[in-house]
């Protein structure tokens, strides 16, 4: 499809629609996404069973190799209308299937009609003269490779990972999937924004199985990175093997009420904006619709007295090569914003619309743009201090951690934990970790040691003062 041709048709038709159809187009934006994706799926072994045991036969050939060159062009239309003496606004979005003039115009009319029936308070459609940040999103090493060369690069990564795993006692890689995407995004808006940038994404899924006699367990690592080289095969195998072995050798979960230490993937899940309730409560929409707990400068932990570290948390889309980094979202420049400052609510997540509704634009604030990486400044505590003397319950990973966004309550199955006592570590699995995310904020201690994992940059170890484990 010819992007420039579509742009020209859209611009002309948007100008003509008020006279031709009585539809008042308040603005439009076009987005073209060219994707060149490569997927390689490997099942390194095929298993059968005999006499109650798994038998493995090597399977050197991939399960599937997919090449996906694609192009999508999207259009968003803002419409205004008046009813009962008031002015209203709406928006609608769709994808073009061709650059044929009649088809482009038909899509535009459909969207303008949809946008012009929406009884929403008016808001600015886009920001004229917006300046976009420079953020490193593209892996230059793979961005320009031919399809064959990229396939070879993915193959080398896969082979390195399988070789590393072959040296781990009792560990097998049962599934290895690598998804590499090279993207080129172009945006043009009626307000004059013209932006084009490249980006890459590498996602993997690696399943490690640990077998020790009758004790068998699987651990799945799902690393995400902008650069293929940021996925370190050795490190993935090392952490994956430790985890899978731990689950295979784990006993049942204990009953426990009291401090719980979260490390590694569990610390990541607990703090990551994707899984915890803060992004919901700090969203401009939730604040404006009064369904949020957000109160600027008030403690997020509510009435609970703060006895731990005051937590500060940023949504930061500007981290170089961060998995959750962005240049823009909906043609709004990305920026780092502070959601929690010393345990208190600070800024709000949102685009032009809700920043306008909340009066923040008028106060000089710029909209936040898209949600970014989760960045938590470190605490002052050393690991040994957080693990503490005596009996300590540590959670290393969850089956599927998430909180109820409204209440902050959670009850999540523990995939791997350990009881540390008298210098020994006793792994356990199963049982539910129960608590409330906001209550937990009142009594939390953060390590000095940091971790950078899948869009989380923060303390590697978090000690929560009081949680419950139902074993």
């Amino acid at each position: 499809m010819d992007f420039n041709k579509i742009k020209s048709i859209v611009a002309g038709a948007a100008m003509a629609l008020p006279a031709e159809r009585g539809l008042d187009v308040a603005g439009w934006s076009l987005r073209r996404i060219e994707t060149d994706a490569t997927t390689v799926i490997r099942l390194p072994g095929i298993y059968t069973t005999r006499e109650g045991k798994f038998l493995r036969q090597p399977n050197p050939q991939p399960r599937e190799v997919i090449m996906s060159p694609s192009e999508e062009i999207w259009v968003k239309v803002y419409g205004r209308h008046k009813a009962d003496g008031s002015e209203y606004m709406g928006e609608a979005i769709d994808q073009f299937l061709s650059d044929d003039e009649a088809a482009v115009k038909a899509t535009l009319v459909t969207l303008a009609q949809a946008a012009c029936t929406q009884p929403n308070r008016p808001y600015p459609a886009s920001e004229a003269g917006a300046e976009f940040p420079q953020v490193e999103l593209a892996d230059h090493e793979i961005h320009e490779l031919s399809y064959g060369a990229l396939l070879g690069r993915v193959q080398r990564f896969s082979d390195a990972l399988l070789n590393a795993a072959s040296g781990e006692f009792g560990i097998e890689v049962s599934n290895l999937e690598v998804f590499v995407k090279r993207l080129r995004t172009r945006i043009e808006t009626s307000s004059g924004i013209a932006l084009e940038y490249g980006s890459t994404r590498t996602d993997a899924e690696v399943c490690f199985i640990a077998r020790f006699g009758d004790n068998v367990a699987e651990h799945t690592a799902r690393p995400h990175a902008r650069r293929l080289r940021d996925l370190d095969p050795q490190n993935l195998v090392l952490t994956g093997a430790v985890h899978a072995r731990g689950i295979a050798q784990a006993g049942p979960a204990p009953q426990h009420t009291g401090p719980v230490v979260l490390t590694g993937a569990a610390a990541h899940d607990f703090m990551k904006l994707e899984y915890q309730p803060l992004s919901w409560h700090c969203s401009g929409k939730a604040v404006y619709e009064k369904m949020s707990r957000y109160q600027k400068d008030k403690p997020a932990s509510g009435d609970k007295p703060l006895v731990g570290d005051p937590v500060t948390l940023f949504s930061d889309p500007l981290v170089a090569f961060g998995p959750d980094s962005h240049i823009e979202g909906d043609a709004v420049p990305a920026r780092r914003i502070c959601l929690l400052k010393d345990g208190c609510y600070d800024e709000v997540l949102g685009g032009l619309r809700y920043y306008h509704y909340l009066g923040l634009l008028e106060q000089g604030a710029r909209p936040s743009g898209p949600v970014g990486n989760t960045v938590v400044p470190t605490g002052t505590h050393r690991t040994a201090e957080l693990l503490g003397p005596g009996r300590t319950i540590v959670v290393r990973s969850f089956s599927d951690f998430h909180t109820d966004p409204t209440s902050g309550d959670f009850a999540s199955e523990i995939r791997l934990g350990e009881i540390r006592e008298d210098g020994s570590n006793k792994p356990f699995k199963g049982g539910l970790l129960i608590g409330n995310w906001f209550d937990a904020l009142a009594d939390i201690k953060l390590s000095r040691e940091t971790v950078a994992q899948d869009g989380y940059y923060g303390p590697a170890i978090i000690r929560v003062g009081s949680l419950q484990i139902a074993g």
Partner: protein
């Protein structure tokens, strides 16, 4: 011709055999799959009302089998025939055929399928959808001043699929309509959310009563004063959606053959063995008409004509759920294995895996001891009735299971006491949970709808259900 497909797909349907033939000049077996969407969504919240077409997201996937591996090319450029031919030639140009299992292309078949509905959703105007949403929104908002943020969403999705192999040319036009109500309540300090979905293939899905809307809002308000359930093991009665999700997470994911073939499903060791009480009967059936997970054929081109019986009277069956790749590699290794209609993909540029469709427990006939819901509650002594699933997570190797529900209702001496618990997590060891199934009702309800991921990705639409089932689980 005349399948009521979008013009681009109508033309493509006739062209696909040419593409497959081009691929099979070098590959021993090839197929093509095309997907495209249509429809409209309308939503209303206090600050936002939206009406938006469902984006078409068209795409084609051409797959060639070399004896061991599927080599695939996919693209959104479905309208450019010359490009598709070039892409196909590029795909197979360097193919080296290996000694390996070969697909049976089956008998010749040229069919088109379409969802059956009572009220055609394509004939409903945007204004009518807006009216439905506005009415539900206003009823939710008017219920109580503590309902601070009601949301009503009307979703009409139309999913077109074309499949072509040397012998098969299949197309389908599947519709799904849903009305979703999400009231959020707040007392100034605490927030709570309820959820209600009503689904069907046509506009009939949205005809819910004002009383149902009020009940949905009322529960959100009740949650504000509901307690947290004391952690521990309980006798529980699961509603049909939770029952189906227990089936889905236990011997649904556990019976996907691609999990067995990579040694990641303990079920492989238990085929033909007991995995639950006599009351446990679990099936997956995409051909169940008009459900959210229903399909007419799999993305491997297998017609959804026969249920995959996974557990029968508590015994794990060898039928399992297969995609073409895992079937080809496992058919010699697992006697009794069939190629089922479970090969599915998230979007045209993703891999095909063995996936579920509609997964459910079978009810127990009244003559064999199946009860009504009321009888089951009365028969349960002290228990918790668990309702309104929010999520589930599988562990096919470790046989753990995690379910999340919005509420639990206390049952004392066979009677509901009116005491409500908000946000209940359920877990247990699958064989223990299924062995503890000791009560079941006599009606099948497969009316839920959602998506299922393979781990945390590859989402496909599914449904789950069954009767009410009584068992023991850990709650918290």
């Amino acid at each position: 011709m005349g399948y009521d497909l979008p013009p681009q797909l109508e033309e493509l349907r006739g062209f696909l055999p040419e593409l497959v033939a081009e691929a099979e000049k070098k590959a021993p077996y090839a197929s093509a799959l095309v997907t495209q969407s249509a429809g409209e969504t309308v939503s209303k919240t206090p600050a936002d009302e939206r009406t938006n077409p469902v984006p078409p997201r068209p795409g084609i996937r051409i797959s060639a089998w070399d004896g061991m591996t599927f080599l695939s090319a996919s693209t959104s450029r479905i309208g450019d025939r010359d490009y598709l031919i070039r892409l196909t030639r590029d795909l197979v140009q360097s193919i080296v055929v290996k000694q390996g299992p070969m697909p049976d292309p089956g008998e010749n078949l040229d069919r088109h399928f379409r969802s059956e509905f009572k009220e055609d959703p394509a004939k409903v105007t945007a204004r009518e959808r807006q009216t439905v949403c506005r009415h539900a929104f206003e009823k939710l908002a008017a219920f109580d001043k503590r309902i601070v943020a009601p949301r009503a969403v009307y979703v009409y999705e139309r999913e077109y699929r074309l499949f072509c192999s040397r012998t098969r040319l299949l197309s389908s036009d599947v519709t799904n309509v849903g009305l979703y109500l999400v009231p959020v309540a707040s007392d100034g300090k605490k927030q709570a959310m309820n959820f209600k979905g009503s689904l069907a293939p046509g506009h009939e899905a949205v005809h819910i009563t004002d009383e149902t809307i009020r009940e949905t809002a009322d529960l959100a308000v009740q949650y504000l004063s509901a307690g947290k359930i004391p952690a521990g093991e309980y006798r529980v009665i699961l509603d049909p959606d939770l029952t189906g999700t227990l089936a889905h997470e236990s011997f649904g994911h556990g019976c996907e053959v691609d999990a067995l073939m990579r040694g990641a499903a303990r079920a492989a060791l238990y085929i033909g063995k007991r995995v639950g009480s006599d009351l446990v009967n679990i099936v997956d059936f995409g051909g169940l008409p008009g459900r959210h997970g229903s399909i007419f054929f799999s993305d491997d081109g297998v017609l959804a004509e026969e249920p995959a019986v996974l557990v029968k009277d508590g015994i794990l069956q060898p039928t399992l759920m297969t995609d073409l790749y895992s079937y080809l590699h496992m058919r010699e290794r697992l006697p009794g294995l069939k190629l089922s209609a479970n090969g599915r993909l998230q979007t045209y540029d993703h891999p095909i895996y063995a996936r579920m469709t509609n997964t459910y427990f079978l009810p127990l006939e009244k003559e064999k001891g199946g009860k009504t819901k009321e009888e089951l509650i009365a028969d349960s002594g002290d228990a918790i009735l668990i309702e309104q699933l929010t999520s589930g997570m599988e562990d096919p190797l470790g046989w753990g299971v995690q379910l999340q529900a919005l509420r639990g209702r206390e049952i004392k001496a066979g009677k509901l006491t009116g005491k409500l618990y908000y946000q209940v997590g359920l877990t247990g060891y699958v064989p223990d949970v299924l062995a503890s199934v000791d009560g079941i009702t006599n009606e099948l309800d497969v009316s839920s709808g959602g998506t299922c991921g393979k781990g945390h990705k590859e989402y496909v639409r599914v449904s789950s259900g069954g009767p009410y089932v009584r068992c023991r689980m850990k709650l918290g």
